[in-house]
């Protein structure tokens, strides 16, 4: 199979760049200033209000990336399989500690995942087992790109959600943020050709910052910025785009601050960065900003050494995701939007079945995905990969393609035809009610 390296947009019709070359001033929706919209359409505010309550805008998606390659075998554990204990004499979780999900199948959760177990028992948590793709790539970067772009065979510049947003552009008419990443750089997942998605580091950073030594000057400086940008009449397309985007940046930052200030919750999120990122996700989703898809990541899963004992170790990471997602779910319930949110986790690969010589595990292939929400069909989906029939590297052979999971979410949750977005037909799964 030839890895084909080519920018995606060249294969598509008119790109944003082409439009600009043709002299058409195209402003992507996330950059569209509400001020400008109101000039075009005085009833814009009411249109905006409608847009956020019609179509599928009450189907929200949160994507959680477990960065580094999560050890699926020590997450969803085949605790009755002797091959597991043979392959991992020092790293296996003892069967009596495993939180059993299915006694017959011998499948259970790592003991740190106590809240996952609770949510599973309540039918709120679906586990898709053995997710991967053919010819698994074991490079972090490349495999992450594959999962994010949903294109295992070529390098492209757009992600699966980015392409979804491009396809569904009309749905996001006037939204402050159709989609957003929190913390870190914008993942490929959210990159499209037309809709531009921001990456919000924190409430503090997504605003116009001024000299902290003179906080009393903040207002004057922002007002001067806005005065300059509002009064600049530019016929140059670059300058006019910069002026409009600058105004929109400051305005959307104000929207975000306002949404965050209105947010209140009795839920106490843990203090770790991941849980705080989830809190920011909740603040945005509950803030009426028209946001449909959000992405947040937690790193550290590249556990090559001492994975049960190091300072940042696998059990601790599992505890972070367990307590973080539990707080997030309770917050959704408190805000009455637990019916409207579907959360999925993914990692670029699982890890090798056999432990290595450093009390760790090396890069592997298939791993489970968690799907959380009131509208999921809880339980185990797909098959646990075989521990007796491994590939040439000693890695699991996937039992389901990650693009089947995406197709299910696109079709049954986001109500969109998945074929064009995924460039192919993938058989759907059954984890959404």
């Amino acid at each position: 199979m030839n890895a084909k390296t080519k920018p995606a947009q060249k294969n598509q019709g008119l790109t944003r760049r082409d439009l600009l070359k043709r002299g058409v001033t195209f402003i992507s929706l996330s950059l569209m200033s509400r001020y400008m919209m109101m000039q075009v359409n005085p009833s814009y505010n009411s249109v905006f209000a409608q847009a956020s309550t019609t179509s599928n805008s009450n189907k929200l998606l949160v994507i959680v990336q477990l960065n580094g390659g999560n050890d699926g075998l020590n997450t969803v554990i085949p605790y009755k399989n002797s091959l597991y204990y043979e392959a991992r004499p020092r790293l296996a979780v003892a069967d009596e500690q495993v939180l059993a999900l299915d006694e017959n199948l011998g499948i259970g959760l790592h003991p740190k995942l106590v809240n996952f177990k609770k949510l599973y028992d309540q039918g709120k948590l679906a586990i898709v087992q053995g997710v991967g793709y053919p010819n698994a790539n074991r490079s972090h970067f490349r495999s992450t790109d594959i999962w994010m772009s949903a294109q295992p065979e070529k390098v492209v510049g757009t992600g699966w959600i980015g392409r979804y947003l491009d396809h569904s552009i009309a749905r996001f008419h006037g939204a402050s943020f159709p989609a957003a990443n929190v913390q870190g750089t914008l993942p490929l997942t959210l990159r499209g050709d037309q809709v531009v998605v921001p990456s919000i580091q924190s409430l503090e950073s997504y605003q116009f910052q001024t000299d902290s030594r003179y906080p009393q000057d903040h207002e004057t400086r922002v007002a001067t910025f806005q005065r300059i940008h509002s009064q600049t009449v530019a016929d140059d397309p670059y300058l006019s785009f910069l002026v409009n985007s600058g105004l929109k940046a400051v305005e959307s930052a104000a929207d975000l601050q306002e949404a965050a200030s209105k947010y209140s919750s009795s839920v106490q999120y843990p203090t770790d960065p991941f849980a705080q990122g989830l809190k920011l996700v909740a603040q945005i989703l509950t803030g009426g900003l028209g946001t449909q898809v959000m992405h947040v990541a937690i790193g550290g899963f590249d556990t090559h050494a001492n994975q049960n004992t190091d300072n940042v170790n696998h059990p601790l990471l599992l505890q972070y995701i367990d307590s973080g997602l539990d707080a997030f779910y309770r917050d959704l319930v408190e805000h009455n939007i637990a019916d409207e949110v579907l959360l999925m986790t993914f990692s670029e690969f699982g890890r090798r079945v056999r432990e290595n010589g450093s009390l760790g595990t090396d890069h592997g292939t298939a791993a489970p995905m968690f799907i959380l929400g009131n509208k999921v069909k809880g339980g185990l989906h797909s098959e646990y990969p075989s521990l007796s029939q491994l590939d040439n590297n000693g890695d699991l052979i996937h039992t389901v393609d990650f693009r089947q999971v995406y197709a299910t979410i696109l079709e049954d949750w986001l109500q969109t035809d998945s074929k064009e977005i995924l460039e192919g037909s993938f058989e759907k799964l059954n984890f959404i009610q």
Partner: protein, 451 residues
Amino acid sequence: MSQFNSVQAAHLLRRAGFGATPEQIDDVLLLGREGAVDYLIHYEQIDDSAMEQALAAQNYLQPPAGQPLSLPAIQQWWLFRMLHTRRPLQEKMTLFWHDHFATAVSKVVSRELMLQQNELFRRLALGNFGEMLVEVSKDPAMIIWLDNNTNVKGSPNENYARELMELFTMGINDVITGEPNYTEEDIHESARAFTGWTIRRGRFFFNSSQHDYGTKTFLGETGTFNGEDIVDILVKRRATARFMSKKLLEFFVYPNPEPELIEEVADVYLNNQYNMMAVVRHILLMDAFYSERALFANIKSPTELVIGTIRMLKATATPHRVILGAMSLMEQTLFNPPTVAGWDGGLNWINTATLLVRYNFANGLVSSRGGPLATFDPNRLLEGQNLTTAEQIVDHFLNVFGPLPVSTATRQALIDYLNSDGPFTLNAQTIDRQVRGLIHLILTLPEYQLN
């Protein structure tokens, strides 16, 4: 003798480098247009050993024992060069080639190989394009990036052969006539010529047992071609001359250059045996380069913005990880372009999040009074000036950071900002407060985002 004023000198130093201080602009102004361009072009005559020594002392390329060379380390190594070099055009061309032959660590993985490729771009920055193409074809990072290590006799991988024509030399269609430059058959045939060009132990290796020695027909020529022969055929094509001329004109002059300009530069390329020094020299001396249309016609890339701002502020700064983080958030991670086509550039740099990062990065620098990020002292930009009124101060700084061609309304808003607490007077306290604030506002102007 061609006209050469300070606006043009500042423009030259922005495009052929990363921006300059008023003193540096005055220095090149004395050389005249041709003298200034020759000074920049013949950078090998400029002693840059002080930078090399300072760079070596940073030990970026010596990771702590037991740790691999990291991506931030090689990014810092390169940014340090850009910040402190006396040969700005060499680094600017290195950046051009990095975007042209865009190769990403995401797939190559090895930081050592990425660095080695970067050194190739620097070594041949203004060298012969044919030589560059041969060396790039043998470059281990490129071989990994475009899968030529799987390109073997009987089962060619066409990835490199295709991109060599589509992105590195001619483009799919002739940029003047629009005629197709090659066929799928030309891709098959040239891929055969590159079979067996692989790597072994991190170096180029010609695996003769995997090389297809058969006869190939490529772009109408027939022979038992190898990769060098393919490059020889490509480098002399007028389509290549036009494609490279257009790309360099867009990089240095303005978007969508006129066909006549492309043809003029293409002639220079062909008449000088693909010597990039002659081509870039010609471009930097063209009247079009100094025309109204060219001034501020591009959007600053994150690299240009970050390096230029630090240089123009005369700030003391090393490429701290905060700066690397800001550049990634501005969506330019050096050594990791998004695709083989490089960064899309232009308006694609701009969205609400990247703009806020630009504004806040500027605020961070301007508010740095010491600490790990930078030290910025506004007095260094006021030395030798005799400024008293708000008008004079605004005009001075609009000049320092451009000169920026702003409207009278923008100028007035900045003056009003200084006067917002009553008539402005310059003293230590107002320098620390309002002058820093003024500089931040200037760095957030839409005009400042332009190059």
